[in-house]
């Protein structure tokens, strides 16, 4: 990612060592255990609370690495929720909650921002392994136990993700109320957008690298495909788009970035991944159409990412309105 601090490069290197690029989409539960062991579940927790005190730049770094290797573990909602609970003024036994999360307990949250279905939370990642799901509403943030909820898994094209529709029961543990709840909800959404955007750009970089490798290796008409200028230029355009979106991701991965700016960035990042994956399949030719080759897994993850944590249409429209009003 370049120009990053030593702390972040170390984090990146550790992630690449723990989850090498040649072993895509490792099993969720073992990966989750490894993440807990490496302390990633308390990455953003303040040092006072026993965490590493790393900010959004670290979140962007780690989520990008998870995108690169098609992680099945729900680190994006997990870390968002961790930060939400840490700010949860009304949460009794807060430090115990944080300790439980830091050591491996998972609390899920919805990645569907359309709010279409009161009563049921859509697109909740890995609710099957969650103890609770975070519920946000006007002036209220609370935890609902999954033991008490109805979970319905939705079958996805993306085979690296599991999403559930969750209908919570009656019992709720209050995390925050009033303005505090609004602030937590807003920040959670920003974290989720940042997380999905980082995931997307990690994936985009990986699928482009895979494509360039293929073109360099594969020979047709007595030369490597990578010699054909039309293909070179398409790869160069993808590289340029990815680098620009990555630069913007890092610029937005700070506290205090405005929600509309994070949203526009998320839209750009996800469209960049989507287009890169689309081109990657085309550039791989027939082999890209087979289940055996990893190309399609990136493509399906890219398509899904476009709809998690806000769609491009919704986010761009909001950014446009904000600029007009501003």
């Amino acid at each position: 990612m370049g120009g990053m601090s030593i702390e972040l490069s170390e984090l990146r290197d550790a992630a690449q060592k723990a989850f090498p690029a040649d072993h895509l989409a490792p099993p969720r539960d073992t990966a989750w255990g490894a993440m807990a062991k490496m302390g990633w579940l308390m990455l953003p927790l303040s040092e006072d609370a026993g965490g590493l005190g790393l900010g959004r730049a670290a979140l962007a770094t780690i989520h990008a690495e998870m995108g690169r290797m098609l992680s099945r573990a729900p680190l994006v909602p997990a870390l968002g929720v961790l930060r939400a609970l840490e700010s949860g003024e009304a949460l009794a036994d807060r430090s115990q909650w944080l300790e439980r999360l830091a050591t491996g307990e998972y609390i899920a949250a919805s990645l569907d921002f359309t709010d279409a279905s009161p009563g049921t939370l859509r697109a909740v990642p890995d609710a099957d392994m969650a103890s609770h799901v975070l519920v946000t509403g006007p002036g209220l943030v609370a935890l609902a136990p999954t033991a008490d909820a109805t979970l319905v898994e939705t079958r996805l094209w993306d085979d690296t993700r599991r999403l559930f529709d969750v209908t919570p029961g009656a019992s709720l543990t209050v995390v925050a109320r009033g303005a505090g709840a609004e602030a937590i909800t807003a920040r959670l959404r920003e974290d989720l957008m940042l997380g999905i955007a980082a995931d997307a750009l990690g994936g985009a970089g990986a699928v482009l690298a895979m494509t360039v490798d293929y073109l360099r290796t594969r020979r047709q008409f007595e030369r490597p495909l990578a010699m054909f200028q039309a293909l070179k230029h398409r790869c160069a355009d993808l590289k340029t788009q990815i680098e620009a979106a990555e630069a913007l991701l890092l610029a937005r991965a700070v506290e205090g970035a405005r929600a509309q700016d994070i949203g526009a960035m998320k839209a750009l990042a996800c469209e960049t991944f989507r287009f890169t994956a689309e081109e990657a399949i085309q550039l791989h030719g027939g082999i890209g159409l087979t289940q055996e080759h990893a190309c399609h897994r990136f493509m399906k993850r890219a398509e899904l990412n476009c709809w998690l944590a806000g769609s491009a249409d919704a986010l761009n429209e909001a950014a446009g309105r904000a600029e007009l009003a501003g």
Binding site: T114, A123, W157, F221, E222, I281, Q282, G288, L289, T290
Partner: protein, 396 residues
């Protein structure tokens, strides 16, 4: 352009026949074996009606149709939403053209009637190592006397054979010489798919279908009597017949896409986006693009009928259809939102099913297979725009 009287009569006869005979509910078929049977049934039914092989010469049953009549038939079949004859495609187009134009009388007498009994054929042209460079194929055939006969012993691997697991016979390109220009060492064989040494492995595709297959050939014996043309003349035989169907196929598929625009309308309504001007504009732009694909396919057929086909015309039609098909599917994916990311059952043998992610993935078959978009662009640039050909070699 209004039909003249004969065409109008054909059209109304066919409509009446379709009202009686068009299959219903064919999209609900959920396994390939049943799909293959349904395909065979519909082919035989069409043959009985006289509409299965309008492009064959008379006196084959229903043959001897003009291109204009063929177009009417395909338009009406698309309009009545009948299944494409996916499994009879190779047998009635490529195999038939090969047999009629390049084969011996004995071969014609044996294989053409078998096709009309419902034999399925597949194509064994592409190889894993060759890709778009078809002539680089390596599948090796050595002439020997074995099992008391004069045979080619064939070993190698073929790929992207559509529904080869249900095929009875295969149009096979093999290498019989490896010195000299790569095209010159290619020979054309007709191979029995039930022969010993033939193994078919369906390829699991990204949308979950297994329409394409790999074919593994391990010392398969193909009688020399089943060679089409001379040894080493296979490339010319393949070229002569490769594009035999392109115009009609793409006209049919373009009109099928046009006829499926209601799926976009339904989706817009279902998503409550009928007043979203961005969606409406994108839909309108798509309509123009789909219509242009139809018009281009039509114009291509007009040119062919008038004997005015230009080199590269087929590439224009293929490239346009493949791009528009991608745009069609993408618009559906983007209007449908998160709901389209939920995996739904696929439909066999149709490209515009309303399962938008599956349609999107299927659309790659058109941008990659049968001459990728990249190959078409080369042809258009070099043969129509007279830009220099890709060099044969280079100096680093």
């Amino acid at each position: 352009m209004s039909d003249d009287t004969d065409l109008a009569r054909l059209r109304s006869e066919l409509r009446a026949w379709l009202a009686e005979n068009a299959p219903r509910g064919w999209r609900a078929v959920s396994n390939h074996a049943a799909f293959a049977e349904a395909q065979r049934g519909w082919f035989l039914k069409l043959l009985e009606g006289g509409y299965a092989i309008p492009h064959w010469p008379a006196p084959w049953p229903g043959g001897g149709r003009t291109l204009a009549e063929q177009r009417v038939i395909y338009e009406e079949l698309a309009r009545a939403d009948t299944p494409r004859l996916l499994l009879s495609f190779v047998s009635t187009y490529h195999a038939a053209a090969t047999l009629m134009e390049c084969a011996s009388d004995a071969q014609r007498a044996r294989y053409l009637p078998a096709i009309l009994k419902g034999e399925f054929w597949c194509q064994g042209f592409s190889e894993p190592g060759a890709g778009s460079d078809l002539a680089a194929l390596k599948c090796k055939a050595v002439r020997e006397t074995r099992s008391g006969g004069d045979v080619y012993v064939v070993s190698g691997q073929k790929i992207w054979s559509t529904m080869a697991q249900y095929a009875d016979r295969c149009l096979l390109l093999v290498r019989t010489a490896s010195d000299g220009p790569k095209q010159a060492g290619i020979t054309f064989l007709l191979m029995d798919m039930k022969a010993r040494g033939v193994t078919v492995r369906p390829i699991e595709q990204i949308q979950g279908d297994e329409e394409f297959c790999e074919i593994f050939l391990d010392e398969v014996e193909v009688p020399v009597a089943d060679r089409v043309g001379e040894e080493g003349a296979g490339w010319a035989v393949a070229q002569a017949t490769l594009a035999s169907e392109r115009g009609l196929t793409l006209m049919e598929l373009s009109y099928r896409m046009r006829g499926a625009l209601w799926r976009v309308s339904d989706l817009i309504q279902a998503q409550g986006k009928a007043e979203d001007v961005a969606v409406l504009r994108a839909f309108g732009a798509l309509i123009g693009r789909v219509d242009s694909a139809c018009a281009l396919a039509d114009r291509y057929l007009d040119r062919r009928m008038a004997g005015e086909e230009r080199v590269g015309d087929a590439s224009l039609v293929k490239l346009t259809y493949s791009r528009v098909l991608r745009e069609y599917a993408r618009l559906g994916v983007s209007i449908g939102g998160l709901a389209e990311q939920l995996r739904a059952p696929i439909t066999f043998g149709d490209l515009n099913t309303g399962n938008w992610m599956a349609d999107y993935m299927n659309s790659y078959a058109w941008t990659i297979a049968g001459g990728s978009d990249e190959v078409q662009r080369n042809i258009i640039a070099e043969r129509m725009l007279e830009m220099p050909r890709e060099p044969k070699g280079w100096v680093a």
